[in-house]
């Protein structure tokens, strides 16, 4: 792969949370490249710094030191406004607890995002993509957890983002529902070519990735390249 295809270039990234007297070193010097179109699974035990890393990649948080470059632009030096713009036009997020807006229907939840994007899909198309074309006018409370997470995915991909960042997208779901959600993510990565990072503490999910990044204690402890990707339907845990 050539350097042109690098989407994220992370160098010596650290993040320290200061809680009064106590300092929590969430990231202790992370070096990482993410490439165009790949599906990366970030694996590590709870508290290893996965969310922190993903948040910094997504422009939701800033690093304590080190650099993060997105297609050559230094996120670590971006202003609040530039970060907002970056999130608006380039990144799609999927969260563990979906973070849907309960007072809006599935369609409206997606519209919240498409209304501020440059080349969005139609909310209906995005929902059809995750297999929810029939449940457009349901409120989150009327949907199951898996369906809610698929709405959240539809919302994330509806803006046609260049990167899709998913923080434990199956963490709150049972096994079979989790598989459905992973299948959606895999298909979007495959069909739309969206660079995708999926966080999990579940090692079994790693099989569907192009590469697996292992995190522990704020450091990258290893990177595996899967020569054969398993389709999500063959995953077991």
């Amino acid at each position: 792969m050539t350097s042109k295809d690098v989407v994220f270039r992370v160098k010596d990234l650290t993040k320290v949370y200061e809680m009064g007297e106590v300092k929590v070193h969430a990231l202790r010097g992370v070096d990482l490249y993410l490439y165009e179109g790949e599906l990366v699974v970030m694996l590590g035990p709870s508290g290893s710094g996965k969310s922190t890393l993903l948040n910094i990649l997504g422009g939701l948080d800033t690093a304590s030191s080190g650099t993060v470059k997105y297609r050559g632009r230094a996120l670590s030096k971006a202003t609040e406004q530039e970060l907002t713009e970056y999130r608006r036009f380039h990144v799609g997020f999927v969260f563990q607890f979906y973070n849907l807006i309960p007072s809006l229907t599935a369609r409206e939840n997606v519209a919240v995002v498409t209304e501020i994007s440059k080349r969005p899909m139609k909310p209906e198309d995005a929902l059809a993509l995750v297999g929810l074309g029939e449940r457009l006018d349901h409120f989150p409370a009327q949907l199951s957890g898996g369906e809610q997470q698929r709405v959240a995915i539809a919302r994330a991909v509806s803006k046609n983002p260049e990167v899709l960042l998913c923080d434990e997208p199956t963490g709150a779901l049972d096994f079979s529902t989790g598989i459905v959600v992973l299948e959606v993510l895999e298909r979007i990565n495959r069909e739309l070519g969206t660079t995708t990072a999926v966080i999990t503490h579940n090692a079994d999910i790693a099989g569907m990735a192009d590469r697996v990044v292992h995190l522990s204690n704020g450091l990258i402890s290893g990177i595996n390249i899967n020569t054969v990707k398993k389709p999500p339907s063959e995953l077991r845990w």
Binding site: L60, N99, P102, S103, I116
Partner: protein, 767 residues
Amino acid sequence: MKALDRKLLRDLWKMKGQAAAIALVIVSGVSAFIMLISTMTSLNLTRDKFYREYGFADVFASLKRAPDGLKHRIREIPGVRDVETRVVAGVKLDISGFEEPVTARLVSVPDKGSAHINRLYIRRGRTVDAFRDDEAVLSEAFAEAHGFVPGDRLGAVINGRWKTLTIVGIALSPEFVMQARPGAISPDYKRYAILWMGRDALGTAYGMKGAFNDAVVSLEDGADSGRVTAELDRLLDRYGGLQAYTRKDQISNRFLSEEFRQLQRSAEIFPTIFIAVAAFLLNVVINRTVSTQREQIAALKAFGYSNAAVGIHYIKLVFLIVLIGSAGGIAAGVYLGRGLGRIYMEFYRFPYLLYELKPSVAALAVFVTFAAALAGTLRSVQKAAGLPPAEAMRPEPPALYRKTLIDRLGLGRFLSQPGLMIIRNIERRPVNSLLSITGIALSYAIMLGGTFFTDAFDFMIDTEFKRSRKEDMTVVFTDPTSGRAVYELMGLNGIEYAEPFRSVPVRLKSGHKSYRTTIQGIAPGNRLYLPLDTDFKPIKLPPDGIVLTDYLGEILGVKAGDTLTVEALEGTRPVREVAVARLASQYIGVTGYMDLTALNRMMREGGAISGAYLTVDELHQKEIYRSLVEMSRVSGTVVRKDEIKNFYATQAEVLLFFTFIASLLAGTIAFGVVYNSARIALSERSRELASLRVLGYTRLEISYILLGELAVFTLAAIPLGFVIGRALCAYIARSLSSDLFRVPVVVAPATYSLAAAVVVVSAWFRA
């Protein structure tokens, strides 16, 4: 519609109870403001139009008698546009079927052409025929009170001669918008009238052919009224001039201006309280909303909504509530304003009421409310806008409970577990708890501020008409009369006792300050008229020196022991230096008091008197009225009981209106504060309370925890509200006081209880 705006509407719908409670408080504040201001501007507008179209005079002067030729000299005074000379007199009326004494002010209308100054607005019938001496135009309020229509007749004692007059017209005048007998504090439409007759007829009757005893002057634009009055005083001095005055001191206009001042002041005080409470409630609600929507805010930011966009989202929510409240407030304010306007039209007799709500006033109300709401919610909105998205993903850390003061004092063991929870929760959020208590306290204060008038007026009437005065009736003579007139009165069947008095118009001066009033000469050994000291004990008048109403002392800047200059405006018009003996406490009007003998001595007159206070045998009352009507030197009679009765009759409707409005307003505040506190407590602690249920607490015990907190708030609010309310009453009373009257700060225990009841009931009605 944008999806985010849709969220807004649905969020609003979900919190509709709270939003409505807040909107109601805003409705109260805005409607009170709109009602007061629109009534004021409407009356103002109506007054200006009426004054302009009917040529209300700029300068007024009364005198003893001057030849008509003087009119031209007056017109030549620089700044004078026009002058009208008139004959004005006090008369007794005799209304068949109405046994009580009725007096009237008789005013001449010019014979030739129509007057340019103080023109009559003829409501019905016509003006008088110049060649008839038995026609009169009657003031509308009096005509209405007695059901007179053109063509009816009434009897009048004109300069001692009984005469039957035919009413040819019913009219209003800019000069008598407020129609009260001089010295009275409220109009008495049954017992006091304005009567207009032809100039010629009056001239003949009062020996004023080719002469006048009253002048009204209109000024050129930009004229110096001070110079005109000074010049006029100089001209009229040798004709018994009583000091010219301007509109500012014209009694009808004075009352109107005072009313405007009161409305303006009320419009400043009450709405401010409401808007402050609304801002506080909004702050609580928005703060809570932002807390519960943390994760949603995080998602919005993660998807690229800017901090500003998120902030604006919540500002829109505030704005919507404010908008609903202000719209309701404007509508209610217009409705109430019209109602209040109609009530005022009872007091202020205009031919019409031009109701007007200036768009700028409505806009101001909305703007101020929104600005206050924004200021109140700014912190919460900033919190939402500034929420770091990564952090917002995490659930909010659990609330921090500390050992409370009660715990530390070791008092905890005296409280049940739920009792402890109540106290801890109040102590945990001291600012919010304090604000809630203050909010409820304010509703109590508003209740007091809106209703204490009833008590204050009771006290005022009790002091002025019962403690300070003991007579049954007062008779006034047409001119200062020999003291022997008392014996004539005593000779009437049924009169038990007569106490003479002398009343001299004067100008009091001290340094640069000067004030025109009367000195009341009180007979030695007075039993019926008793000026009171500050402890409400009768003052024994000193053999010389003057006693001043305390407020007059303030106006003139003098106290006991000081000396002031008295310029008498009657008789030989002596000017004297007189020592201020002491100050008297008095709520209505301002006067100087002197011993009758001392006053006579100062005036260099023998035992002259102006009238007498009488006590009568009730059985002979009607007979006495008759005799007094027939006594030519008596120009009028006032019955003390009638004055009291009339005061209450005229004030009742206004007082009732304000009590009603105040209760309503206070109720909305108490309701709004308590309802919101309850909702917030419930939402914040639903989890905690649910686990208590699981632990086996009954529903009742759980309600006790929630309601207990509100009960503590409500009870704590009462003493605070008492203090704020007293201060509010004192402030209102102070801002209303003028030389016309002072409102005492008196709140009866019953009012305190009523106010507390309204607050507690509104609070519990919700809870």
